[in-house]
Amino acid sequence: MRRVLHLAWVEVLHLVRDRASLAQLLLVPFIQLVILANAATFAIRDTPFALVDLDGTPASRALARHFLASPHFRPISGASTVPAADRAMLAGRATMVLVIPRGFDEALERGEGAFVQVQLNAEKGSAAGIVQTYAQRIVRRFGEERLAASPAGRLRPAIAVTTRGWYNAELDYRQYMVPGILVALVTLVGTLFTAQNIAREKELGTLEQLNVTPISKRAFIGAKLLPFWVLGMVELLLGLWIGAAVFGMPMRGSLLLLMAIAAVYLVAALGAGLLISTIVETQQQAMFVTFFVMMIYLLMSGLYTPVDSMPGWVRVVAEANPVKHFVEITRAILLKGAGPGDIVKPAAMLAMFAVGFGGMAVGRYRKGER
């Protein structure tokens, strides 16, 4: 044990003395957290839209006002005819065109139900879907207001629907993203640094020196991983604090539970890094392979888009992804206040990954060559 602790301490010395790496470890993740939290968002504000009001009645202007008042939309000028709006969309100046046809007011007055046309630039697939939802909500609300204002009885709604969004009442995208980004950063730092660290000792030749010493595989690996494990825990704590202080991320569940699960998860993440280091020769390879693996892990983790939106076979594959389970747990604990009973299944999966990756890495690591 004394050996392991001392080796771990030496690992800390290496880190502290390498300024570039230290900066990379301490600063980059948090800068990324701040930038990513602001950039990684599908929330749409200020969508530029062209308003073509062919009706020009009080009713059509009222509908237009609803759009102008929304934070999601921003009108562009000089595109008030159909051809002009079309050109604006082709040039990329407008993402949406709203056409209020002639006779809009009349149709409303007659109680027939009126139509408007919404054209969307769907180049940006999912974004277009979101803009569509926003636009339809505004149109529907306008319609409901007209109904409410019309002579009572005939058009009064029979069912009063109240909607409540739980866990993110202000619909703030960052509250959803920050926990996920934190997981991604801690994973990246843990895996990449472990893989690179051992590849570096291979390049330097110091690994060979350690291999002729009587130190056991397990002690060596334990000593290598311990500092990065502690670092990962500290980074997660710091990140949580920044998330709460800067982005107002809620912490509804138990911090202790989250850290306990993170402790297990980090073993899996570091084990993955160690596993990578056993198959690469150079730091460059370590970096490329880690990025390759991380990319797959992160894209399929539900970090950016919900796993439930993925096709069936992708969802099955995603079960074999520790990042997915930890993102799920982190969000459940932080945003939904999940307790131990709610996360048994993903937590058990994580424990399996920790044992599996750790075991495989120890098994694959060889002190000599065959």
Partner: protein, 371 residues
């Protein structure tokens, strides 16, 4: 003539380096191809399976009718029916349900007589967009039921929006991602590989040997980067072909123009790679600088994954100086809208100006650092 042979020798040497390092090569070639599939299949925000809980304290014929309505849709799947809302918290927290429809006793009664009958729709809105959309879908089901009760007459909503999706009618996410992915691939191969390869020669001292040769610095750089240019272009073509075969991503405009613009953007990335390698002391620092300076902005600030419109103002402003942002716009225009140079000349000029400036700067710092 002899000089040309020397240059060819340099290109050959670099090609050997690339081919020798199988692991890196495999990652470079596989990564983009796998990414097309991952982005195409995995990155979706479509909602096609909402797990619903019904809380119905005193069931009656009306609540059953409305429940059946939900059950009959393709979108909703009722996974739990409860008498009270007590265990909703647990159902949400464990992720077993996305949404709950909560009735109150006497729903049918109030619907028939003194109305309006209250219904509450609770949604897991941790992810705001899907949350909002699920809310809208559930409300629509209830409104349809309501207008069905009334028989004829105006539907629940007095105004209907007819929506027309242009350029990408099915909103295929692959269509959105492929142009961005091309920018990403070019950045990885051109900027990252060049920076690493140049700084490795600096570290090992072989760069000095090259510099004392009769080749000029310009030629050394040309010889070193030429193979990466080829690999980059080849990968771009592979990605386009794959995207077309698997996802049917269209190429509406001119393929030649797209490749030419791709070549221009490759130049930008190469210049960045050279610049970074000339100004960093070691491979490790070069890697970090490339990651922070080119890959991250290419992914986050180019509109590749996240729409530029949704960036906060300072970041939106920052995106203007990111070359990838302009290239993504050009590539999307050519591929999805079929636009040509007539519409895209402004973006092209911006990109060309950036390339020229970066190339000049990189040549300059390469010379001052090494001569």
């Amino acid at each position: 003539m002899r000089k040309r042979a020397a240059l060819a020798g340099l290109v050959w040497k670099e090609t050997r380096h690339i081919l020798r390092d199988r692991k890196t090569l495999a990652v470079i070639l596989l990564m983009p191809l796998l990414q097309v599939i991952l982005f195409g299949y995995a990155i979706r925000t479509d909602i096609d399976d909402v797990r619903l809980a019904i809380v119905d304290p005193v069931p009656d014929h009306a609540t059953h009718a409305l429940r059946d309505r939900f059950g009959a849709t393709e979108l909703f799947r009722i996974v739990a029916v409860r008498r009270s809302s007590a265990d909703l918290d647990g159902l949400f927290a464990s992720g077993r349900i996305h949404q709950a429809v909560v009735f109150q006793p006497g729903f049918a009664e109030r619907l028939a007589h003194d109305g309006p009958a209250p219904v509450q729709v609770i949604t897991d809105a941790a992810e705001p967009n899907t949350g909002t959309a699920m809310q809208a879908y559930a409300t629509a089901v209830i409104r349809e039921y309501e207008s069905g009760l009334r028989g004829s007459g105006p539907a629940g909503a007095a105004v209907t929006a007819s929506v027309r999706m242009r350029f990408n009618p099915t909103r295929e996410s692959a269509n959105l991602f492929v142009p961005g992915l091309i920018a990403y691939v070019i950045t990885i191969i051109s900027a990252l590989m060049t920076a690493i390869s140049l700084s490795r020669e600096k570290e090992t001292g072989t760069m000095e040997v090259l510099l004392v040769s009769p080749l000029r610095p310009r030629e050394i750089i040309a010889g070193k980067v030429a193979p990466y240019l080829l690999i980059g272009m080849a990968t771009v073509i592979l990605v386009l072909a794959e995207a077309r075969l698997i996802f049917g991503v269209p190429l509406r405009g001119s393929a030649a123009l797209l490749l030419a613009e791709g070549l221009l953007f490759t130049g930008t990335s190469l210049a960045l790679g050279i610049l970074i390698s000339a100004r960093t002391p070691s491979q490790r620092v070069a890697m970090t600088a490339v990651l922070a300076g080119t890959m991250l902005p290419t992914v986050m600030l180019s509109g590749f994954i996240f729409p530029i419109e949704s960036l906060p103002a300072p970041l939106r402003l920052l995106s203007v100086v990111i070359p990838a942002r302009w290239f993504v716009e050009i590539a999307r225009g050519i591929m999805l809208k079929g636009t040509g140079l007539a519409e895209l000349w402004q973006e092209t000029v911006v990109l060309a100006a950036m390339t020229a400036a970066l190339l000049a700067a990189s040549m300059r710092s390469f010379r001052t650092r090494l001569e």
